[in-house]
Point group: C2
């Protein structure tokens, strides 16, 4: 499908893409650039890529597909490094979770003969680093493409095909729409998880209660998400700050309503809300977006 | 261990206890009382109990151990029905998630020759009903005993032994302590999950966005908890309303701080908080309270 693919940032997502490319034989050569030489050595040793180097400018040269898979705050630097080394006709994409600002930044700075098509594979685990990646990560998961003014139609088709070949289901939408929807389905849940764990840690510090011991009552579910990559999520919230702030306000308003209903013992209202929220889980399972087993199928010994 | 055990309310928890008693041969006879005759017929047919009837007063007669496993709002009714049918020397317990008010209510209303020891097995799934129970539900899970003025010491020992035999690890603490800790580790996480799903549903209704489709980005984790039994959770929040209200205030205060940090692009502060929250997951896994696999070990096809 491609001669040379270059992945900039070989963490959980980057290394999973590299593994999926190799497994499905989608490129003759996969290379990667990472600031840390420990990472570069590791991914060569683990046979995740064919070549790795901290010299992004050099290693990107001659690539047909370049995938930026590093935190959003690193994009600016990367673009200025690579913009003059991009091959004529190359496709440039990323895997970032926020689109609007990023698309404009890159659109402005790359040459006209490069197709810039932003991607967002909605997949991941709470782990980070190249060791935690695996080739099946994208299987049956959505990947949203958000084209820019510098996206060529034939390249959008090719990139769609690429994501499908590594297991994704592909959707195309505008950056604005993407950032709004993801603030609901992904950014807000992460922020809330971070906030409940942070609130708990503050109480724990003050009164040293047995929080960890009794976490199976619900809290443990949130600690999984709150264990996600701190740099990645710091960047996401800042990049999508307007949607995030709006969602926080809506969330607080509804939480206040719940508090009022609880304090006034409004049984009917609470029952109505909790019955409504019960239904969406079935829809999610039906849509194939979670497993159809109680407790996420987790089995403990 | 017992001659006759009576379980009042044979849902997920009640039926799991019945199954565990039978599996571990802890009673000669297990009976159950349920308002719904469909349930009574079902649990006989499934061989979960030996006898079942809507007549609580009658079926409780002669039991050595009585376990109330129905929603907190049903306790008052049940106690008035059974208080004159309890056997001399019987142990009365429950499995409720809030203790303070309930302990006082029952303490006041039962005869002196009955040992009233409240229990809270911290176990469950998002499913409800007798079909969803299983005998291993309590394995390696904490069960907190909160004795009352009407708890005899030898009976506390016996009840501890009972919970251990069905797999639990047992702790004893005061009702006040229990209600405070559980508001942090269980009630607040549930309320937050209900609230984020409710907030999402409101947006979905208004703008009909593709929420379900992209829920794998984080939201789906919360929908599991928000699919829990509405009646049970309505009762828990109302019974523990003072602790819950305090936790809501703390949560909102911290969320406002996060919003401020996001809007002012305070990278350092966000990174510091998200790095701190990452650590507790490892402690929870180390304490055996969650599985040591990314994504809860969920595997999808």
């Amino acid at each position: 499908m491609f001669k040379k693919v270059c992945i900039i940032g070989c963490g959980l997502i980057g290394s999973s893409i590299a593994r999926a490319i190799k497994k499905n034989k989608l490129a003759r050569k996969v290379v990667s650039s990472n600031r840390s030489n420990t990472t570069n050595k590791k991914i060569i040793k683990l046979n995740i890529v064919d070549e790795a180097s901290p010299d992004t400018r050099k290693i990107v040269t001659g690539s047909d597909l370049i995938i930026i898979a590093s935190p959003l705050s690193s994009y600016k630097n990367i673009i200025f490094k690579i913009k003059n080394s991009l091959k004529n006709g190359a496709i440039l994409t990323d895997v970032g979770s926020v689109k609007k600002n990023v698309i404009q930044l890159i659109e402005k700075n790359i040459p006209n003969n490069v197709s810039w098509i932003s991607s967002h594979p909605i997949a991941g685990t709470e782990e980070s680093g190249p060791e935690s990646g695996f080739s099946e990560l994208f299987k049956n998961k959505w990947c949203i493409l958000t084209p820019s003014k510098k996206s060529k139609n034939k390249d959008i088709k090719l990139l769609e095909k690429f994501w499908r070949r590594i297991g994704s289901v592909v959707d195309v939408m505008s950056a604005k729409e993407h950032d709004y929807i993801l603030s609901i389905t992904s950014h807000m849940p992460h922020l809330i998880a971070y906030n409940i764990v942070n609130t708990t840690l503050k109480i724990k510090k003050k009164r040293d209660r047995n929080i960890v011991k009794y976490s199976a009552g619900g809290l443990r579910d949130f600690t999984r998400i709150a264990a996600s990559n701190p740099i990645m999520w710091r960047d996401i919230f800042i990049q999508n700050r307007e949607n995030t702030a709006k969602m926080i306000d809506k969330f607080i308003k509804n939480l206040r309503d719940l508090k009022k209903a609880i304090k006034s013992k409004n049984e009917k209202k609470l029952e109505k809300i909790f019955t409504k929220t019960k239904k969406i889980r079935k829809e999610i399972i039906k849509a194939g977006q979670d497993i159809n087993k109680p407790d996420f199928g987790r089995k403990q010994n």
